[in-house]
């Protein structure tokens, strides 16, 4: 034993000299896993327009991602989705439905206050939900809220987790929430300063305040980020793989659908075959790996595989030969125009690549960023990690609702099984109105002193858990 100690001492004394060097080396490769620090100002930027902070404002489609990110900072929803996509209590502690899944009773968490000190009541919740969902019949009942709808809504708890269903106290044009932050300054469409609520029911956020610059382009954001003026910025898909000077990149699961959406339904069987051929002609893998630097995954279905488990069943590999066979003998009357977002450089390359792929299969399509093209390259965020909710929302956004699917979903009184969901999604795809291309990750570049970042699946940022280490970036 004594011999061992002596040996240890010898080793130690030899190694002591190298200690400083060793710890320095470790510093470069390892980062301390410290407990979160309180305090500091988190400076972020958001590209999308945010004309209004009202999460129920459905008119603002283009800024949906942005409002989804901001809304949970100011407002709470009755439920939240956990990492498995299952509804968990938030403002509602418990819920139950009747047999038909048309009437739901949600018991509210007691003692919650809005940021102005008003107590959260069933009346306030009901009023807020009515604004967001005019079709629902919402009524308060004691400390519970009753939600009734015409059709069965087995996914209501998951739906209530959507940021559009945030509980908002609307008082004389002011929007008051029960969220972790309050809006200290609001320059509509330009900037938002949030300050942490000390009395937040789920614990005060770590940072003291959050400054969000709104409507900044990704390039502008990155410039500010590299100059150290911002702590977190959104990254364009193609930027995500590159190294970010002075920071790190956090990627989400592929939660954004890149797809070709046709402006009108299939007018003839020939057109349907042409669209099918186009879907087969596109090499999604190269689009993903080369153009977007593997920022996503090739998509055959509307929802990603991690959400459904069956997405691989939809064809997504290019098959130029089969594409030719399918539309053989069909005379395409005129070239289709493919619209894309001009402000997105990657979208242009993707559109041009699609055109090249289509030409290989003998399909005539031209890139056209102008308004009202035959088909449009769109990016749609999946609002929920609940597959059914996400699919419903997608169908709504893409105008894909078919009578069959509506009937099918209205008849379901419990959550649809995966097989049901597959059938519905397959029906949507059979309309040939949409050709899924990729599921993209969303990425955020963060300064080195930003910790605890996690992005919820619906695109919202879980900023209350973010903390800033005292070290300078």
């Amino acid at each position: 034993m004594k011999r061992t100690s002596l040996l240890w001492l010898a080793i130690n004394s030899l190694a002591l000299a190298g200690l400083a060097v060793a710890s320095l080396m470790i510093t470069t490769v390892a980062r301390a896993a410290t407990r979160p620090h309180y305090g500091g100002v988190l400076r972020l930027a958001i590209a999308g327009p945010v004309p209004s902070l009202d999460p129920a404002d459905a008119t603002n489609v283009s800024g949906q991602t942005a409002i989804q990110r901001i809304a949970p900072l100011l407002f709470n929803t009755l439920t939240t989705l956990d990492e498995r996509g299952e509804a968990q209590p938030s403002l509602a502690l418990a819920w139950k439905s009747d047999f038909s899944s048309q009437r739901w009773e949600l018991q509210l968490r007691p003692g919650i206050t809005f940021s102005d000190g008003t107590l959260l009541t069933a009346n306030a919740v009901a009023a807020s939900l009515r604004v967001a969902n005019p079709r629902w019949n919402v009524s308060p009942q004691g400390d519970s809220v009753i939600i009734q709808s015409d059709a069965a809504t087995p996914e209501l708890p998951a739906e209530l987790a959507l940021s559009s269903n945030s509980i908002v106290l609307r008082e004389g044009g002011k929007l008051i929430g029960s969220g972790p932050f309050t809006a200290a300054q609001w320059g509509p469409g330009k900037s938002l300063v949030l300050s942490a609520r000390d009395d937040y029911w789920a614990g005060r956020p770590f940072v003291d305040s959050v400054e969000i610059a709104i409507g900044r382009s990704p390039r502008d954001q990155m410039l500010s980020f590299e100059l150290g003026r911002l702590d977190g910025v959104e990254l364009a898909a193609e930027q995500a793989s590159g190294a970010v000077a002075g920071g790190r990149v956090v990627n989400s699961a592929p939660d954004e659908l890149l797809a070709i959406v046709f402006s009108r339904g299939v007018q003839s069987p020939e057109e349907g075959r042409l669209r099918q051929a186009l879907g087969l002609a596109i090499d999604r893998n190269l689009l993903n790996t080369v153009v977007l630097h593997s920022a996503g995954e090739p998509a055959g279905g509307l929802l990603p595989n991690w959400m459904t488990g069956y997405e691989f069943l939809f064809p997504r590999s290019p098959d130029s030969q089969r594409a030719r066979q399918i539309h053989e003998g069909i005379n395409q009357s005129s070239a289709w125009s493919l619209g894309y977002d001009q402000t997105d450089p990657a979208a242009r390359v993707i559109a041009e690549r699609i055109v090249l792929n289509a030409q290989d299969a003998g399909i005539n399509i031209r890139p056209n960023p102008a308004a009202s093209p035959d088909a449009q390259l769109v990016r749609i965020r999946l609002v929920s990690r609940d597959a059914q909710v996400a699919l419903s929302h997608l169908a709504l956004m893409l105008n894909l609702a078919t009578p069959g699917s509506q009937r099918a979903s209205s008849q379901m009184t419990s959550s649809p099984s995966t097989a049901d969901l597959y059938a519905v999604e397959n029906t949507f795809l059979q309309t040939q109105c949409v050709i899924p291309l990729l599921h993209l990750r969303t990425s955020v570049a963060l300064a080195r002193n930003v910790h605890g970042w996690s992005e919820a699946q619906d695109g919202s940022w879980n900023l209350p858990n973010v903390w800033l280490s005292p070290e300078k970036p």
């Binding site: 190269l286 790996t289 080369v290 153009v291 630097h293 390359v349 559109a351 041009e352 690549r353």
Partner: protein, 604 residues
């Protein structure tokens, strides 16, 4: 046309033709000079373009060579020689490098021509670019058509192999500049010229393929056929383009085909030279000509007027004098204050009138003598005829007194009758002469000439058909002559004389025709007979008093006729020939003014 006018016209024409000729010559010379200058400018521009083209080519070649030697190119070449065909790391490289090197086109391709990274069409990675001459990459820059997502473009390209050391697969850098407005704008153009570029994509003429830095909003279709023509002929050509109806907008277009690497015509350099200067010059020449011509004409008119006046005044005086002479003013004289031929002419004229006057007087004198001789002869003849019976009768009485006084009484009675008859005859002769000398002035009355003719015919009709002579057929052809003013008595005598004359001319029967004609200001009466006719000499002397071709008569009849007709302001003429009969034509002015004058005089 007067002489003066002729002179004016000749002067003006001369001036006009001279000015026009000068203008045409100046215009032609100007056009030639302009075209020559135009050709020179075009040639200079083409040379400048070629120079610029070559300079750009060298610049591009240098840039492409620099890129080929850069680390980026080596990295790409290295990555692809390892066999991992991953385009992702290089997707944006071409664009970035192209931006840095100020190239419009940049592609990295592997040995097979597969695009690794493309600046102009980033999405085309992995696709082959078949148009590249990789087997024998040219050293210099070359023209090439480049496919772009939104169509085609023409560019000046250069190609370089990436020098990445041994053991590496081949990789090439293909870079270029677009032949666009900027490229063309870089050319320094003289005023009035412009350069355009037509990209030939073998699709027929397309206005979009025309690069026109001047930005003129003209109708490109107007040059479509010219462009097509040059592309078909494949050689330089020039044409004149009428952009609008305004000739100043016209443009001379010179097309120079530019050939690509495959020796096909990749594009056309179109050098446009505005015709504005030329047209304006031509306009100025035209205006100057018009002004000079106008002024010249005016001056010519003034000068020629003055000159013609100077020249023609004596001539006019002469002409006037001649007219005077013609009117009978034989003593007219011309006073010409000039010299030369005109003065000589005037002298000659004056001499001529003088001579004429003298000749006439001489003639008058001679004729008067002749007339007097004739009168004397006729008087002697007329008086001798009765005197001879008187002499015989008196001698008979004397003898009867002497020989047979018994019978003397009887004889005396008889002889005194004869004597009285002859004396009466003598008296008649004398009264006729006296009557002729006392021809009264006509008293104008309104009358119808046809009525007079009918009256005369009515009077003589009995004689015409008389048993003592051969019958004469009388016909009248009377036109509607209308009213005239004349003395009915005198005119009746005129017609009677003429009819009796005619009857006398037809002893062996014949036809008498009386015709009236109406003219605007006159009426005429013709009296035709089918008698023996007259010789020209007889015709000439017919109206001479006391001349007669007949065996009887005083020879005063026609003289009286002429005297009366003349007093009426008319004329009488004869037309005859031997065995052709004779026609007398009396032309009488209507003299209606005389009627008014007479009425006025009567009123006064």
């Amino acid at each position: 046309m007067t002489f003066r006018r002729k002179l004016l016209v000749i002067f003006a024409l001369t001036v006009f033709i001279s000015v026009a000729t000068v203008a045409i010559i100046v215009s032609v010379l100007a056009r030639r000079a302009f075209e020559k200058a135009d050709d020179e400018r075009t040639a200079a521009l083409v040379a400048q373009f070629q120079h610029e083209f070559n300079r750009r080519g060298e610049e591009i070649t240098a840039r492409v060579a620099a890129i080929a030697a850069s680390d980026a190119a080596t990295r790409i070449s290295y990555a692809f020689s390892r066999g991992d065909k991953d385009y992702a790391p290089f997707l944006g490289d071409a664009r970035t490098i192209a931006d840095n090197q100020q190239l419009d086109f940049l592609e990295f391709v592997d040995g097979q021509g597969t695009i690794i990274s493309s600046a102009q069409w980033p999405a085309k990675f992995g696709y082959p670019d078949a148009s590249l001459p990789l087997s024998q990459p040219p050293q210099n820059a070359f023209l090439k058509k480049e496919d772009l997502p939104d169509g085609e473009a023409l560019g000046l390209f250069s190609i370089r192999r990436v020098e990445a050391g041994e053991g590496h697969d081949e990789a090439y850098v293909v870079g270029g500049s677009r032949l666009d407005k900027q490229f063309i704008s870089g050319l320094e153009l003289p005023a009035g010229m412009r350069a355009m570029f037509y990209e030939n994509f073998n699709r027929g003429f397309s206005p979009q393929s025309l690069i026109d830095p001047s930005g003129s909003s003209q109708d490109p279709q107007k040059i479509a056929s010219f462009v097509q023509h040059v592309l078909e002929q494949k050689q330089e050509s020039t044409t004149l383009i009428h952009w609008t109806s305004n000739p100043a907008e016209d443009e001379t277009l010179h097309a120079i085909p530019l050939r690509g690497l495959d020796n096909q015509i990749a594009g056309l350099l179109l050098v446009g030279s505005s015709r504005r200067q030329y047209v304006e010059l031509r306009q100025q020449i035209r205006s100057a000509t018009l002004f000079a011509g106008g002024a010249g004409l005016l001056l010519a008119i003034l000068l020629s007027g003055w000159a013609a006046a100077r020249v023609t005044r004596p001539v006019e005086q002469l002409a006037q004098a001649a007219r005077e002479v013609a009117l009978g003013n034989w003593d007219t004289r011309v006073n010409v204050h000039s010299s030369g031929e005109i003065a000589e002419l005037a002298d000659t004229f004056n001499h001529m009138t003088h001579e004429l006057l003298e000749q006439r007087e001489h003639l008058v004198r001679v004729e008067r003598i002749a007339a007097w001789k004739e009168l004397a002869r006729r008087l002697a003849h007329e008086l001798k005829n009765p005197l001879f019976p008187l002499q015989l009768t008196v001698e008979n009485l004397v003898r009867a007194r002497q020989q047979t006084p018994e019978q003397f009484d009887e004889i005396f009675h008889e002889s005194s009758t004869t004597l009285l008859a002859e004396i009466a005859n003598l008296k008649a002769i004398i009264s006729r002469f006296s009557e002729f000398s006392r021809m009264p002035q006509p008293q104008f009355h309104s009358l119808q000439i046809n009525d007079l003719v009918r009256d005369v015919v009515k009077l003589v009709r009995a004689q015409l058909q008389g048993p003592d002579r051969a019958a004469i057929e009388c016909t009248m052809q009377l036109a509607d002559t209308g009213e005239i003013a004349g003395d009915p008595e005198l005119l009746h005598r005129v017609l009677s004389n003429l009819v009796l004359n005619a009857m006398d001319a037809m002893p062996q029967a014949g036809r008498l025709t009386l015709l009236t004609h109406a003219q605007e200001n006159s009426v005429s009466v013709e009296v035709q007979d089918t008698g023996t006719g007259l010789t020209p000499e007889e015709c000439a002397r017919l109206f001479t008093p006391y001349y007669t071709s007949k065996g009887h008569g005083t020879g005063l009849g026609l003289a009286i006729v002429q005297s009366i007709v003349s007093d009426h302001g008319g004329t009488v003429s004869v037309r005859s020939g031997p065995a052709q009969g004779t026609t007398f034509t009396v032309v009488l002015p209507r003299n209606l003014d005389k009627l008014r004058e007479q009425r006025n005089e009567n009123q006064v």
